[in-house]
């Protein structure tokens, strides 16, 4: 399955793990914060319309 990476297997795999990991962290944090902010905005907006 995994191609023969020869003696540089560690190097290549670590690069991929680190990079993809960083990308996932970035996307994950963006989405988590986005969801939180969106939910909060809806809450505040609803309160505003209820109170006039």
């Amino acid at each position: 399955m995994i191609p023969d990476l020869g003696k540089y297997a560690d190097t290549v795999l670590w690069s991929y793990v680190v990079s993809i990991g960083l990308l996932i962290v970035l996307v994950g944090f963006s989405v988590i914060r986005g969801r939180k902010v969106r939910a909060e905005m809806e809450k505040v907006e609803q309160r505003m319309t209820r109170n006039g």
């Binding site: 191609p3 023969d4 990476l5 020869g6 003696k7 540089y8 297997a9 190097t11 290549v12 670590w14 690069s15 991929y16 680190v18 990079s19 993809i20 960083l22 990308l23 962290v25 970035l26 996307v27 963006s30 989405v31 914060r33 986005g34 902010v37 969106r38 909060e40 905005m41 505040v44 907006e45 309160r47 505003m48 109170n51």
Partner: protein, 257 residues
């Protein structure tokens, strides 16, 4: 103050609404295409390209290193452009887009530096060398850190947008100066920018060309990174707009009692 307040109110309902609606519509497209490009490009590059005769399998790192490095620089250019738009046109979405982009730039710079270090260990025999390109990226990283720190430090968001925009402009000039200074200071190990040189693509430049076997998956990865960057910027700008709206609504609530 009343004019500013009026402009604020206008902004509150007109432009960001439109931005949010439009970005909501196009975002799925960007997420999906960027994901597809990245998966196909990386799988193609990782599983179906041969080893380089000199670098062995480490050549596969290029599919992450080069797009990340490109985006690290392009992200700063985008921030520069949006900062200028903010300073000239006072377009709030523009300032918030610059703010939203900076952390992406930090991550891209980190990826470029990390993959470079991991690659450099077996190839150059060292994790880090004070090579001009490496050093420039480290300096770029510091600029990003300062920029984000300034955004975080200032309470009033219009002031923060103004100050960070000026910092971005001045920082760009100094970043270019640093690049020249660093070049002068140390000649370096790093190969030239082999991808974007015309000779490298057409194959006339035999010395350091990226051959076609590697080029197509690499191109796909670059496209994937660009699309991912756009998706992230749109999404994060939307978040910033909503966060500002919450702030504005809460302020109004407090004022109205």
């Amino acid at each position: 103050m009343s004019i500013a307040a009026k402009a604020n109110a206008l902004w509150e309902y007109a432009n960001p609404r439109k931005f949010l609606a439009t970005s909501e519509r196009v975002l799925p497209f960007f997420w999906i295409t960027s994901g597809a490009c990245l998966v196909v490009g990386l799988v193609w590059g990782f599983f179906f390209t041969p080893d380089d005769y000199k670098q062995g399998s480490t050549v596969k790192i290029i599919y992450l290193h080069v797009p990340a490095a490109l985006m690290a620089i392009n992200c700063w250019l985008m921030m520069l452009a949006t900062s200028l738009v903010w300073l000239v046109r006072r377009h709030h979405v523009s300032a918030l887009a610059a703010r939203a982009a900076a952390p992406i730039g930090i991550v891209m710079t980190l990826i470029a530096l990390a993959t470079g270090a991991i690659w450099g260990q077996p190839m150059w025999g060292t994790w880090w060398a004070w090579d001009p390109r490496l050093t420039s990226f480290l300096i770029l990283f510091l600029f990003y850190l300062g920029y984000v720190a300034l955004w975080e430090a200032i309470e009033d968001s219009d002031t923060a947008a103004d100050l960070t925009s000026v910092l971005c402009l001045v920082g760009s000039v100094f970043a270019i100066l640093s690049r020249y200074a660093v070049n002068f200071w140390n000649q370096g190990l790093h190969q030239g920018a082999s991808v974007m040189r015309a000779g490298a693509i057409t194959g006339t430049d035999t010395e350091e060309k990226v051959s076609n076997i590697y080029f197509y998956p690499l191109l796909l990865c670059i496209v994937g990174f660009v699309l991912l960057f756009i998706a992230l910027v749109l999404y994060r700008t939307g978040t910033e707009i909503r966060a500002r709206r919450i702030k504005a609504l809460l302020t109004r609530e407090r004022v109205n009692g």
